[in-house]
């Protein structure tokens, strides 16, 4: 309880402090580092306290705090309306979304229609794992952001330096995320929920360009749709169920609570950028990279899947739950397929985020203890590896001013350390024995006995991921003969984030059996992926991970160096060949993007239409 209060409230201190550090990078650096250490320590303290325990409720004197939450709701609503002030008239429906949802919630609050409750804070092992992910991954990104923003303004001259506000928003984000995971009152969750929407608006619109503003606005209205569903859910809970206690609601009869739970799931999947709402996450990539890293890995989208996982006991074995799983599956397939055709590294990452979240939603929708354990593993591994990928792409961008994967060809020759970090990140995303693959294997094992619909989805999506990750990795490790161009290679404090996450990617794989034993098994029970022979599992993981680097240390005797084969018309300059006209020509090579089959234009529209049908079906299903 003390840890939880600390984790929720403490991030507000750096949030406020950072607002007074305009252009003072030194002060920003120390505030961020010290607060990060404290937040990480807090989350670890909480985790140790919860080892091997089930769920605990905490009671707090609610009246004062409840009043604060209502007051906070009013402030947030006003801020939303302020954001909408410059919108053209025909977009009247955006402020209308705000007015309707906040109007309802605040009206209920002020007229005393909200039922009383006493258990405001709930902590179980799901909360603990989410807390660790948010604190550790989030704080490493925050530290990275300090260094990154300095360089960002170095080569984006037209943009006013408001990096102190940006980093401050990151900590506000932590406040909201911790609020979401610890609260047991749906009204409280809603309050924090909308703050995350607000934070993402601040981050996406950071550069104040036309594109940034548009994308930020799109994110706001799409996320407000989720908020609207959430507020309807609250009203339903207050009116019909006479309870706002989420844990209590989850123990009620399925038929009774399915409507609000589906509304919450709608909000969750909307936040997790499942199709047809994937667009807001794709638009978010115009923001400075740390914010993408944050939105895509430890915060925001993870809040969405967290809520769906919370609700999954109700979804299990219902038709609506099956449709939730199918929506996740479709997002998984479509995200993975479209990522094949993308050249922009950030877009590849964005689509792969949608895909991986789809997989988590699929697990939550099926809702057996086994799939939920797999979903938890996916959350952990995905957060770490995806954050690492985003921040390394950000550093590449700062060095080469390009996000194009084709420009990363031969990176291992130019920026070897960064290339190694990225290879670790990509391996973390899809290669055995790294995390995402362990989880995918667990998902497959969990789903194999159930409907034959799900395993093929996982298998096909996974194969498509294999395709685009491998071709990206291949580009990184190509050893070119080209002279490296002059690069702005200096990476400072960002190394804390880069190295920290790279080490985490490896360490989480080695210790995942322990994570299972300490937190997952007490909650969801034993399942095959956490074998009883922990030492053996860890041993196999380490051996598989160490073998490739070891083979690079082999000292081959009698290597004879030669030129690549160019049909016998090699020239002195290794990048050129003798053409049939007798002139020298440079050869070049680009990856396959298979745009004929996997382009956005081909796949996006059908996916959106199909998923909209599924969403509609989801709500009608329970009436059938």
């Amino acid at each position: 309880m003390d840890w939880a209060t600390f984790l929720i409230l403490f991030p507000l201190i750096p949030t406020v402090l950072l607002l007074f550090t305009k252009k003072n990078y030194e002060a920003q650096k120390w505030i961020v580092i010290i607060s990060s250490i404290l937040i990480i320590a807090g989350s670890i303290g909480l985790a140790i306290q919860q080892v091997g325990r089930g769920g605990d409720f905490y009671y707090i004197n609610a009246h004062a705090v409840n009043g604060l939450v209502v007051f906070g709701d009013i402030i947030v609503a006003l801020v939303f309306l302020y954001i909408c002030r410059n919108l053209p008239y025909k977009k009247y429906w955006i402020p209308l979304l705000v007015v309707v949802q906040y109007g309802l919630v605040i009206f209920y609050d002020l007229t005393g229609r909200m039922p009383e409750m006493s258990r405001y804070i709930y902590i179980d092992n799901l909360t603990v794992i989410m807390g660790l992910v948010i604190a550790i991954v989030g704080c490493l990104i925050a530290i990275y952001a300090v260094g990154y923003m300095k360089k960002y303004h170095h080569h984006h001259h037209g943009i006013e330096d408001r990096s102190h506000q940006f980093i401050s928003a990151i900590f506000l984000f932590f406040f909201a995320m911790f609020g979401i995971i610890f609260s047991n009152s749906v009204a409280w969750i809603y309050f924090f929920w909308e703050i995350t929407t607000l934070c993402s608006f601040i981050m996406i619109s950071y550069s104040r360009t036309e594109e940034a503003k548009n994308n930020a606005m799109r994110a706001v209205w799409m996320l407000l749709l989720g908020g609207l569903a959430f507020s309807f859910g609250i009203i339903y809970c207050a009116d019909t169920l006479k309870s706002l206690d989420l844990q209590q609601i989850l123990t009620m009869k399925k038929a009774l609570v399915l409507v609000p739970i589906l509304l919450f799931c709608f909000a969750g999947m909307n936040k997790a950028a499942q199709f047809p709402f994937g667009n807001w996450l794709l638009g978010a990539m115009v923001a400075p990279t740390p914010s993408s890293a944050l939105l895509h890995s430890s915060t925001m989208v993870k809040a969405g899947v967290y809520l769906v996982i919370r609700c999954s006991p109700i979804l299990q074995d219902t038709a609506a739950g099956a449709i939730v799983a199918i929506i996740g599956g479709v997002s998984f397939l479509a995200g993975a397929a479209i990522a094949i055709s993308q050249r922009n590294s950030k877009k590849v990452l964005a689509y792969s985020t949608i895909a991986n979240l789809g997989l988590i939603i699929l697990c939550a929708g099926v809702g057996t203890p086994f799939t939920l354990s797999a979903a938890l593993l996916l959350i952990i591994f995905h957060a770490v590896a995806k954050a690492l990928m985003f921040i390394s792409v950000g550093s590449v961008d700062n060095a080469t001013y390009s996000q194009d994967i084709e420009d990363m060809y031969g990176m291992v020759s130019n920026m070897p350390m960064l290339a190694v970090v990225m290879v670790i990140g990509i391996s973390g995303m899809f290669l055995a024995p790294f995390g995402m693959l362990i989880s995918k294997m667990a998902v497959l094992e969990a789903l194999a006995t159930r409907s034959p619909l799900f395993p093929p989805i996982v298998i096909f999506g996974g194969s498509m991921m294999l395709f685009f990750w491998t071709k990206w990795m291949g580009h990184l490790i190509a050893v070119t003969n080209k002279v490296p161009p002059k690069l702005n290679k200096e990476i400072g404090i960002e190394w804390i984030g880069l190295a920290g996450l790279a080490i985490l990617t490896i360490v989480t794989v080695i210790i995942y059996p322990l994570i299972g034993e300490w937190w997952v098994i007490p909650m969801y029970g034993q399942c095959p992926m956490f074998s009883e022979n922990i030492e053996l599992t860890i041993g196999i993981m380490i051996v598989m991970m160490i073998l490739p680097p070891l083979s690079f240390l082999i000292h081959w005797k009698n290597l004879v160096y030669t030129e690549p084969y160019l049909s016998g018309v090699n020239l002195e300059d290794k990048t050129k060949f003798l053409s049939s006209l007798g002139t020298s020509k440079e050869w070049s090579f680009k990856n396959y993007y298979l745009e004929k089959y996997f382009s956005e234009g081909k796949l996006l529209k059908p996916t959106i239409i199909f998923t909209i049908c599924l969403w509609v079906l989801m709500f009608f299903m329970e009436n059938l």
């Binding site: 298998i459 194969s463 073998l547």
Partner: protein, 283 residues
């Protein structure tokens, strides 16, 4: 897992794989009205490769090829040691990724096209391999190969569709025509030698060795369909290999689009369709 059978696999698989490769060459030659080399020829070839100069385009190339070999052996070790079938297939995928990375690292145009095509081959074939594991799980109730072997009924009778579809993508995995897009044992290449263009001497030797290990592993996968009848299983595995040789000899190479489409359609209709039938029959 059985340490003994893993060691046995590591020693015997290349011998068996080499003999199969030798028989392959003789049968192919007979189909083309030639006499063909002696059955031990593949061994002579590989031994000679190891005595040659180690020609490389850069320092790392041979390391990636070695990793390809190591992970293929690991994958086979998991299989013949009675381990988890999914883990075995994932290890095989890792091995394949290392092969592609070796090609990328060489910075040679022919090899790079070979790498892209190898990726396409993986995209076409991997779904069916994993689906086979799921199908075998549905029949035997386990992913552990040691337990699969104890089954009392013949998996083939329940999942014939999966068997046919697996045989279809086996042509891709064994690098046989018409699906030998990334590289092949024959000389008629618009790609020179594709993926293997820059491999010479010992590194080409590693590649050949890994291919033998892989062949034995894939035939083992076929065997699992007749896990309760060892002799029938071995005969069917060899018969399937013969059919692959026949297909290799009567087909010309096709384009990647046809390969990908046909492999996925076969996987979806025969593989997934079979799973659905099984599911509804058992309801």
């Amino acid at each position: 897992m059985e340490i003994f059978s893993i060691i046995l696999y590591i020693i015997l698989a290349p011998v068996a794989g080499g003999i199969i490769a030798g028989a392959d060459r003789i049968i192919t030659a007979r189909m083309q009205s030639r006499v063909g080399p002696p059955i031990m020829q593949p061994f002579y070839d590989v031994l000679k490769l190891f005595s040659k100069q180690n020609l490389v385009v850069n320092r790392f190339h041979v390391d990636y090829v070695l990793c390809f070999l190591i992970f293929t052996v690991i994958s086979g070790g998991i299989f013949f040691g009675g381990g988890n079938l999914l883990l075995c297939i994932f290890a095989l995928i890792v091995a394949n990724v290392f092969l592609v990375l070796a090609a990328y690292c060489s910075n040679s145009p022919y090899t790079l096209i070979g790498a892209e095509r190898e990726l396409l081959q993986m995209l076409a074939a991997e779904p069916m391999l994993l689906l086979t594991a799921v199908a075998l799980y549905n029949v035997t109730g386990t992913f552990d190969i040691s337990d699969m072997l104890k089954t009392t009924h013949t998996p083939f009778l329940y999942i014939p569709g999966v068997f046919v579809a697996l045989s279809y993508v086996l042509t891709i995995k064994l690098r046989k025509s018409p699906f030998d897009l990334s590289t092949s044992h024959h000389a008629h290449q618009e790609l020179v030698k594709g993926l293997t263009t820059e491999m010479a001497g010992p590194s080409l030797g590693f590649f050949e060795l890994a291919h033998w290990y892989e062949t034995i592993l894939l035939l083992g996968l076929i065997y699992l369909f007749f896990a309760n009848m060892p002799i029938v299983g071995i005969i069917v595995a060899l018969a399937i290999y013969f059919v692959e040789i026949l297909i290799d000899n009567i087909n010309a190479r096709i384009k990647w689009e046809l390969m990908l489409k046909s492999a996925w359609i076969v996987t979806l209709i025969l593989g997934v369709g079979n799973l659905f039938v099984l599911y509804f029959l058992s309801l």
